[in-house]
């Protein structure tokens, strides 16, 4: 990929409308709206889950019923009616395929529209795909290559059947059922998601990648991802999302748990491009996600996210630095335009000695949007010599948007070293005119300035993803200056 230049990229970027706004008509198997114990049992039954899993879900449901939606985030929206949502939807074509020929052609057409046809993906050495359309995995590739290394990469439903001991041991250990309202809801009704286990000492030879789509009208998506990197192993995991354009709000409450055992490293990258609603603020996805990783001794977890979509984002990929010398990183670009609202950031919880965390957050607000960074750096009394560096930069476009920073620091150990830097800047008319004078039109000038602003984070993404991320930045901000 060394021949790649930013201009190669820009050549591709001609799209004006929300590119992935289409709806695929695949026959689906959908539950009636509403949530109660019977629905939870039915989901579990549908998926032929073992008893312990059903019980685990029911426990979560009991807790959820007693909980209320959090209101501390800097976002305003009409709360979803949780009884008006259908909690299960699966494409009818249930069986797994050995080859693409067997896959529903309409589904393949969907992939093509997304530019991620499995055909191409198969050829693209180094990327294994576990595709989630609606709630059930329908295709998995590169499984064999991974199997040779003993790497398990499959849907969480399959993992519950095939590797119950691993799932049972780790699920809920980083994000417990009762962690928060949305995590509890997810624990009760999660439909599917991905599971990944890297055995001791194995470096995963390829980027593992999952594309999520929300598809069925009015279906909430409750993905559950569990990644376990055993001692001394390494994995880079990519998660990218697109969704059909749709007029009603769609709820998405995912849970991602990462476990990095001693000396292991997990790199988790996300490009999120869900439907943000139209220019008047109508529609769009509600994205309420709980992502957290646990680091044992000398382990490292790195979150990189590019968030351009969703009407409402509530998301704090976090690290619990339990082991000594463990490292947590958070690199984030959050773009909001029109009426989007994002409250996003991270928590770095330092429990072990000599733990280190880095937070680089870049917020870009345009239109009438509101973009908040919320971060917590917590140093426990036992965490000797903990270090944190945080940098939060905001870029504003126009006069009607808002950028907010809510950094929280709790240090209970005197040896802690904590640095926090924050800047706010505005794309100036002078910058635009300067670019114009050099023959660069305003739209392109903004893309250039925004990409420059985001560079530190874009550089952390794997190359294929960096390309897509830059595209998304440009598409998201098109028409935002006038």
């Amino acid at each position: 990929m060394s021949k790649y230049t930013e201009d190669d990229l820009r050549e591709e970027l001609k799209t004006k409308e929300y590119e992935y706004g289409f709806y695929t008509d695949i026959e689906s198997d959908t539950f009636p709206n509403g949530l109660n114990e019977d629905i939870v049992r039915a989901i579990s039954e549908k998926k032929e889950e073992p008893e312990w899993m059903t019980e685990w879900r029911l426990e979560a449901f009991k807790v959820w019923k007693e909980m209320t939606e959090p209101e501390w985030a800097n976002v305003n929206y009409e709360k979803p009616d949780f009884q008006a949502i259908s909690y299960y939807s699966a494409p009818n074509s249930k069986p797994k395929y050995d080859s693409l020929d067997e896959v529903d052609p309409e589904l393949l057409a969907t992939f093509e529209k997304l530019g991620i046809s499995l055909d191409e993906q198969k050829k693209l050495a180094g990327v294994a795909m576990d595709v989630v359309v609606d709630s059930v995995s329908v295709a998995t590739t590169f499984k064999k290559t991974l199997a040779e290394k003993g790497i398990i990469f499959m849907s969480i439903s399959e993992a519950i059947q095939e590797h119950p001991e691993l799932v049972r041991k780790y699920m809920g250990t980083v994000v417990p059922q009762k962690d928060n309202f949305y995590a509890a809801l997810n624990s009760a009704v999660f439909s599917d998601g991905s599971f990944c286990y890297i055995p001791k000492g194995v470096k995963c030879p390829m980027e593992l990648s999952t594309y999520f789509r929300i598809n069925q009208a009015g279906t909430g998506q409750f993905e559950r991802t569990l990644v376990i990197a055993d001692e001394g192993s390494y994995v880079s995991y990519l998660e990218g999302c697109t969704a059909p354009s749709r007029d009603e709000n769609q709820l998405h409450a995912a849970v991602v748990e990462l476990i990095a055992l001693d000396n292991a490293e997990i790199k988790y990258s996300t490009v999120q491009n869900w439907y943000p609603g139209n220019a008047e603020g109508k529609g769009g996805v509600y994205n309420f996600v709980t992502k957290r990783g646990l680091c044992e001794n000398n382990a490292k977890i790195s979150w990189t996210q590019v968030e351009t979509g969703s009407a409402i984002t509530w998301k704090y990929p976090s690290c619990v630095l339990k082991g000594d010398n463990s490292v947590g990183e958070f690199y984030s670009i959050a773009v909001t335009n029109n009426f989007q609202q994002a409250d996003t950031g991270t928590k770095m919880v330092h429990l072990g000695k000599n733990t280190k965390s880095t937070i680089i957050s870049k917020g870009i607000s345009a239109g009438k949007s509101q973009n908040s960074y919320r971060g917590l750096v917590q140093i426990s009394s036992r965490a000797e010599n903990a270090r944190n560096f945080s940098q939060c930069d905001s870029l504003l476009m126009g006069n009607e948007c808002g950028a907010h920073t809510f950094p929280y620091i709790e240090a209970k150990n005197k040896s802690a070293q904590i640095e926090h830097e924050a800047t706010t800047s505005k794309i100036g008319e002078d910058q635009i005119f300067y670019c114009n004078q050099r023959g660069i039109d305003t739209e392109k000038a903004i893309a250039l300035i925004v990409n420059g602003f985001s560079k530190e984070v874009l550089n952390k993404l794997p190359m294929e993803f960096a390309v897509e991320a830059q595209k998304l930045l440009e598409i998201s901000l098109e028409g935002s200056v006038g």
Binding site: E6, D7, E429, G439, D441, L448, G452
Partner: protein, 250 residues
């Protein structure tokens, strides 16, 4: 090449240019001098197409075509280049990347393909050597943390890369030490040809020792009050502007 006729322009309803006539032919170098606030930089900005300036009257013709209605990028595509008095910073965007975007956007406007990477590289090498620019400098973020002299040299480097038809140098000499001034002036002289033209806006005749103008114009209170050759610049340097004020009764 450039014909400005009875140009009146204002910003925020304040009249700044009050009837400018200027005719620049290919191969010529014109210097525009004048005291602070006389409208020199405004003239440059209006020709370049800065939007906050309102053209109230008159017209600007480039090769016979009225460019009043064209946006600044379209004028740039037609070969108008302005070296900024205060070049802006764009963090995270390298000089090279900026130049690449600039050149390819201009080519695109002309219906040309992107410049091949090896050709671009060769050009960057040549032009940076000409202006004695360290290659490391080209990977730095545009103008971020540049000294005054580096910023100006970078402006002329961009001019060299873009090879404009009409270059307007707005106080390019300010903030330059004598060595940098010599390098910048040499660069401009090498870029000069019978097909292009340069307008130099300056307070001092210092730069004009290096880039010899064919015409010198004095701008006062939004009008060109006196034109002459290089001798006029020397006279201004020696005697200031007061004598002109008296002579023309401003």
């Amino acid at each position: 090449m450039l014909k400005i006729k009875n140009l009146h322009a204002s910003v925020d309803d304040k009249a700044i240019l009050k009837g400018i006539d200027l005719h620049v032919k290919p191969g010529e170098v014109h210097a525009i001098m004048g005291p602070n606030g006389s409208g020199k930089s405004t003239l440059a900005a209006v020709v370049a197409g800065k939007e906050e300036y309102e053209v109230e009257e008159g017209e600007i013709l480039l090769d016979g075509e009225n460019i009043d209605e064209l946006g600044p990028e379209e004028r740039a595509h037609k070969g108008v280049f302005m070296s900024f008095q205060y070049p802006v910073e764009i963090p995270g965007v390298s000089v090279t990347n900026f130049m690449k975007t600039s050149i390819n956007e201009t080519r695109k406007a002309k219906g040309l393909e992107d410049m091949p990477a090896n050709e671009m590289l060769k050009m960057i090498r040549e032009k940076s050597e000409m202006l004695e620019i360290d290659r490391k400098f080209l990977s730095r973020s545009l103008n971020e943390g540049f000294s005054g002299g580096e910023k100006k040299r970078n402006e002329i480097f961009q001019m060299a890369m873009l090879e404009p038809k009409l270059a307007i140098l707005d106080e390019t000499d300010s903030g330059l030490d004598i060595d940098a001034l010599r390098i910048v002036a040499n660069g401009v002289n090498k870029l000069k040809s019978k097909d292009n033209a340069v307008i130099i806006i300056t307070h001092y005749q210092r730069l004009l020792d290096y880039i010899v103008p064919d015409y010198v114009h004095v701008l006062m209170d939004g009008k060109i009050v006196k034109s002459g050759d290089k001798q006029l610049a020397h006279k201004l340097e020696a005697k200031g502007y007061d004598w002109i004020k008296e002579e023309v009764g401003v």
